[in-house]
Amino acid sequence: MRFDKYEWTAISIMVSLFIFVGFIQGWSVSLVILNMCIISAIMTMGVNISWGYAGVINFGVMGFLAMGGLAAVLVSYPPIKEAWQVGGSGLGISFILLILLVIAVFFINKLVEKKSHKYWFNGLVILFGLIIIRYFFLDATAKIEEVDPALAGFLGGANLPIIFSWVVGGFFAGGVAFVIGKVALGLRSDYLAIVTLGISEIVVSVLKHEEWLSRGVKNVIGLKRPVPYEINLQNSEWFINMVTWFNSSKLNNIIDPDTKQEVLNNLIIDGSGIFVKLNYALLFFIVMVVIYYFANKAQISPWGRMMRAIRDNEVSANAMGKDIVKQHLIIFVIGAAIVGVAGAMLVTLDGLFTPSGYRPLRFTFIIWIMVIVGGSGNNLGAIFGGFVIWFAWIEVAPLTTFLIEIFTSGMDPQNAIRLHLLDSVPYFRYLLMGMVLLLILRYRPKGIIPEKVRHS
């Protein structure tokens, strides 16, 4: 992985942006933005793998993120024993029945020859099967949701460290992507966009309303953390020593012991917040680098070349004996799995799971803008897009406030237009995103850091 001049510029721009914000708005703000930037970059790499490598469109980002989030809940939350006792058997029965139903449908497809008969048989079996399953299922879920609804009301999870969920989230999202891909990947690209968008909407609405599984709109709060809590840090000896050591010059200048203690306490409180965020940033950064490394390796491998061949000319790749449907499915699943990892990390960072927070504008289209702006087909470009767009998304609000203040400085402070504009500051970010996307597509359609085609 050697970067050329251009890429070094991009990296140094990213680093200097955070240092700049750190000095202007404080290191805490800078780190909050940095953490989200890294997560966005991972999402972007996931989309980039399916779109940039193979040209498979994936508008289901939101759904895969939500699946990753669900994984975080199911892995880390302590199990709710009572709920398992009242509803476990019913759920088990309906699960077994569901498997039987799938097997039955599978056999019907094998045994019945004529196509029209197949539909009728399948339809009837599925209908009756679902009615029977519903009977057990609704009963069990109703019982589960009655268990302590204010605090629990769902099955809980496996009580494992939340960091495992990053892998599990990948598998969850990949599994869902496998089903979607099986159904939809034969479609033309713009149909595929709409279908994946719709299915992600279905995934989120299932998570929103199946309360026995995800607690639905009641949200799951207080998830475990992979990093220490601030309050524990503030009371631990080594951390206090570290803060003292870091600020020794500043503290030594203060002579009065009471003021000194007060200053030190404030420094410890600030420092603990920053330390926690730094830990998150470190963990996320490791994941990002690992994914980046393997994604790059894959891209320059024979497999990556095959993917590029399929993307650039499907017909001739097919003629060379490549199984296009299978390869499309594989890369769709891999891309979705990486998005799922990012989804689990997102929930880990927030410490809470809110299914109603998943909206397509924020979690599908913005990610796509990141990919297009950064440069599809180039992983560093994808990371760069993720960083820059998320940075802009956050920092555009203070910037527009500043600009509006300047432009309306001649007006009366109570002027209606001025007040209205200041009220609608948060919406200017959508304007900026749209404009950026349109300009990039028009004048630099390959993105800021275009794909490098290596001839080896």
């Binding site: 966009a193 279908v195 796509w368 919406y427 200017f428």
Partner: protein, 337 residues
Amino acid sequence: MIDFINSIVVLLNFVIIPGLSYGSQLALGALGVTFVYAVLRFANFAHGELMSFGAMITILFTWFFQSQNIGLGILPTALIALPFGILATIVLGLLSDKFVFKYYRKQKSVPVVLAMVSIGVMFVVNAIIRIIVGTETIKFSDGQKFIMKAKQFKAMTGLNEGLALKSSQVITILITILLLTFTFWFLQKTKTGKSMRAFSDNEDLALLSGINPDRVVFITWLIVGTLACVAGTLYGLDKSYKPIIYLNLVLPVFASAIVGGIGSPFGAVVGGYVIAFSEIMVTYAYKKFFKYLLPESLEPSSLVQLLSTDYKFAVSFTILVIVLLIRPSGIFRGKVL
């Protein structure tokens, strides 16, 4: 016998009339999507925002007329404001075409790139709408709310069940019939309509026969702007206007267009009603309906609801997926206008 009529009235009141008005709104929206797809050849993700924009301009003019005390009596003031909204929506469509879509059309870009571009347009229009009116829910229907209230109906017929008829529903259905008749007449009978159909069927052949492509594109935006503004306004009139809701509405609209066969205007209309009725019928609780039909001993104890109303949006997509699997080109083989 009276029980039977009662059950029919229940169905009319809760399923058929809401389904018809929601279906009309979807049909108008889907028709716009289909027009863009057939003539300009891309999936326009910005269509929802176009609808929202039209509704917003209509609302602004409605407020203006209300402040000037101009009204239509029992009819909502929005009807006078509607032409202004249509005009603004057409202008927006033409501007977006001139500054954005035209370049890619001349470049002969692939449809996916145009779809991406339309997402950019969606963001910009979305931002403009939010900057102008914010994100609050706006109710702008005035005039007489009901043509017939449930109580009046009960008193009139002596039945147990009431049938309420909202004026917004009746207006929606009437305007839809009017607009659809006009559109189909235009496509089938006029020379311009025929040239549009030729253009969508085979672009090169149409160019050879001397059809002016710029004129066809212009007319398309006229129609699309009109349809989008009317659909958006009617939806807002019926439910209440909320800028964010139109992004969600674009999904069932697309589903309708594809289910009917994208590119086929008749298919889009049918698809709209199919999606609307299936959304409502699958999530409606039939308990009351069966209460009248079945003898007392067989009366259902549960709600007799196939899916909870939470899954309303999921239904349209399930249908879309099923249709695409069984018959990928939609109910009425699409692609040609």
